[in-house]
Amino acid sequence: MNKNTFSVVVSTWLMLGSAVLMAADEGREPFNDRYCTTCHGTDGQGNEGVQAPRLAGMEDWYLQRQLENFRAGIRGTHPMDIEGIAMQPMAAKLSDESIADIVEWVGSWPYKPAEVTLEGDVQAGAQLYASCASCHGRDASGNEALGAPALRGQNDWYLVTQLKNFMAGYRGHHPDDTYGQQMRPMAQMLRDETGIINVVSYINSLVQR
């Protein structure tokens, strides 16, 4: 048995194990907390139909932090954060084990850049991106040490929504959302919706290079 085969067997076994652990008693319908793909699409590729972003390719540390923030109400509790308040109750009852299980599961999905749906001014976006690059990296592949997630390959409509939310203070408003609070003034530098669309169009272009 080579190493790869072994890891596949182990992860399958772990998955079945977790499903059994979460089976309810009294012969009731069993369940687990792997319901992410209902909203986030096949292999977590994102679903514009319900405005649920791509999870595939998301860093494990970032995904875990966001799930924990949603669970604690640090994210997704501002009444104007429409998509966030849709997500928040779905994470509210997750246990640490479930979060770990989900993060591992999401990690098994192949990275595949999302479909491009925006046509902004890439040149103008490149100039705006200069200040983003210091945290998110020149190629928008993220920087764990700074807590900044990868941006490239993410659904562009999702990035637009989040930048708008940061700009308006709908995201990053909670005092315990350390990274979100850092991001808020950064989003202001994009000035308006045109700036947001341009910078996201530039991020889109990084995937194609």
Binding site: M15, E29, T37, C39, T42, P89
Partner: protein, 526 residues
């Protein structure tokens, strides 16, 4: 009279311009000829051994209809159902059942008895929904009358009569009286200038008087129709006091009260005995062995000669090759599943909004409503819980299941609450109707369709500006989604109808798709 045509002449006129079909349809509309046969009479080609594989995505009623009908004609059908149960929004909740709301999973703790169930989705069948009723008959689903409007049930609005609940019949009798009085006054004043003959005007006036139970002076002075304050059997009845017109006008619930018996909810309504999912069970008795449960579709690729389906089951990705695919996965979820649909089709999929309807129910420790002469039907409240439904089933038994909230239009108000907040909201709303409600009910369940796993929405909403009709663009998108991709992939379900939220629409969408396929198959085999 000049310019008037008789019905017979009108039909002749149509016959010469529109042909026989137009005459037949108009004749049926005017009630001169019988309509089409009541039974769903699908004329589909029997393949007779020349089997073709059909992948059905989703075990809702439209998918089951396809499996049943095409299965009868020799097609090899397989249903992939993402959840642990078939039926989709035809969901009857009983003792022990899982309500799989994402983030708010619940198990139902109702007593384990046949009448202790709750129809959390579809709950009424109009007698005109003949295709659905035909399947009920064919599949041996026992039906009973559903009680929708009940004149002894209650109406409550904080703005009316100091918030005191009144009987439905007190509202409707008095309202009809006042409305009739207004109409009668208008009739007598305008009679001379009206387009009616003297005989016609007299007929109309007598109807108006009767509609409102007016006295000989065409005034409304109360009516025995609202029952007796006392007596009425062994002694003369004493009439209930009139409620002032102005008091009735303090609530907007009149819209629901006066319209409860119109349109889709007009009498007669029916329900399967023992729960709406008896229809699903009826289908499953025929095609149950064709269903794969917990099989979540991961890809739909339409090819020249068939459709390739990918699905996940037991942590493994499987593929399935089919000649045809019938898909009742909600379009908003299908957007996030791998596919190779054409862009105009995807545009239509993305246009449809998801419904937000919300329901809640309680087990009642006693059938307290029967002590108030209420047997089935709906009480109305002008608060977010809106309605209380008393069960048609289980009359005079010890307990029953009451609907404690039904928000059919919005629903997000309650959906956004925690389970504890939802329950408290329904208890305090219900206390407005039944002061001791909080102590009379227990074991709550809530169904927020917007968050139900594998559905994430109630019935599809095509119209962006509800109430103003369909725009031309919306009609085009709808017709695009109804058409198959490459003659191989069909969307079905009430989402592909102009009258969503009814089982009949789902059944008819499936029948439309199968008839379209049948024409293609016939053309091929001819």
């Amino acid at each position: 009279m000049a310019g008037f045509v008789t019905r017979r002449e009108f039909l002749n006129l149509l016959g010469t311009t529109g042909g026989t079909a137009a005459t037949l349809r108009a004749g049926a509309a005017l009630g001169l000829l019988p309509g089409t046969a009541a039974a769903a009479n699908l004329d589909l080609l029997n393949l007779a051994g020349n089997s073709r594989k059909v992948a059905i995505l989703g075990g809702g009623i439209s998918g089951l209809t396809v499996a049943y009908e095409l299965g009868k004609r020799g097609y090899d059908c397989e249903i992939l159902e993402a959840s642990h149960r078939c039926g989709g929004r035809i969901f009857t909740v009983r003792h022990g059942d899982l309500i799989d709301e994402i983030g708010n999973r619940q198990y139902c703790d109702f007593d384990d008895e046949p009448h202790m169930y709750f129809n959390a989705g579809a709950a009424r069948i109009p007698s005109t929904h003949r295709n659905l009723l035909a399947y009920c008959k064919e599949l041996g689903v026992e039906l009973e009358i559903f009680i929708n409007e009940n004149k002894t049930s209650l109406v409550q609005d904080d703005a009316m009569l100091g918030g005191k609940p009144i009987r439905n019949i007190d509202y409707t009798t008095n309202m009809r009286g006042f409305m009739a009085e207004l109409m009668a006054k208008a009739m007598t004043a305008d009679e001379m200038n009206s387009p009616f003959s003297e005989g016609e005007a007299e007929t109309l006036l007598s109807m108006i008087r009767d509609f409102g139970d007016l006295n000989e002076d065409d005034l409304y002075k109360g009516s025995f129709r609202a029952g007796y304050a006392e007596g009425g059997f062994l002694k003369h009845g004493v009439q209930n006091d009139m409620i002032a017109f102005r008091d009735l006008l303090q609530t907007r619930l009149g819209r629901q009260l006066m319209g409860a018996n119109e349109g889709d909810t007009g009498p007669i309504l029916l329900q399967p005995k023992g729960g709406m999912d008896k229809i699903i069970q009826g289908f499953l008795r025929q095609v149950g062995d064709r269903v794969k449960y917990r099989a979540m579709v991961a890809g739909v690729q339409v090819r020249d000669n068939g459709v390739e389906i990918a699905y996940d089951q037991d942590g493994v990705r499987h593929t399935m090759q089919a000649d045809y695919c019938f898909n009742c996965i909600p379009t908003h979820l299908m957007v996030g599943i791998d596919h190779n649909f054409p862009s105009d089709y995807v545009q239509a999929m993305k246009y449809v909004r998801r419904g937000e309807a919300y329901k809640a129910a309680f087990q009642a420790k006693t059938r307290f409503w029967e002590d108030m002469d209420i047997y089935g039907g709906i009480s109305w409240m002008n608060n977010p819980s809106r309605q209380i439904w008393y069960p048609t089933d289980g009359i005079h038994k010890e307990k029953g299941v009451v609907l404690g909230a039904y928000d059919y239009g919005g629903g997000m108000y309650h959906t956004k609450m925690t389970q504890a907040e939802r329950i408290e909201a329904h208890l305090s709303d219900g206390e407005k109707l039944h002061p001791d409600y909080r102590n009379l009910v227990e074991k709550p369940i809530t169904i927020a369709w917007h968050r139900m796993n594998h559905m994430l929405g109630c019935s599809a909403r095509w119209q962006r500006s509800f109430g103003r009709g369909w725009t031309h663009e919306e009609e085009e998108l709808y017709h695009r989604l109804q058409q198959p991709v490459n003659g191989r992939h069909y969307f079905i379900g009430d989402q592909v109808s102009m009258h969503s939220a009814w089982q009949e629409s789902a059944v008819m969408s499936a029948q439309w798709a199968m008839t379209d396929l049948d024409q293609r198959v016939r053309a091929e085999t001819a």
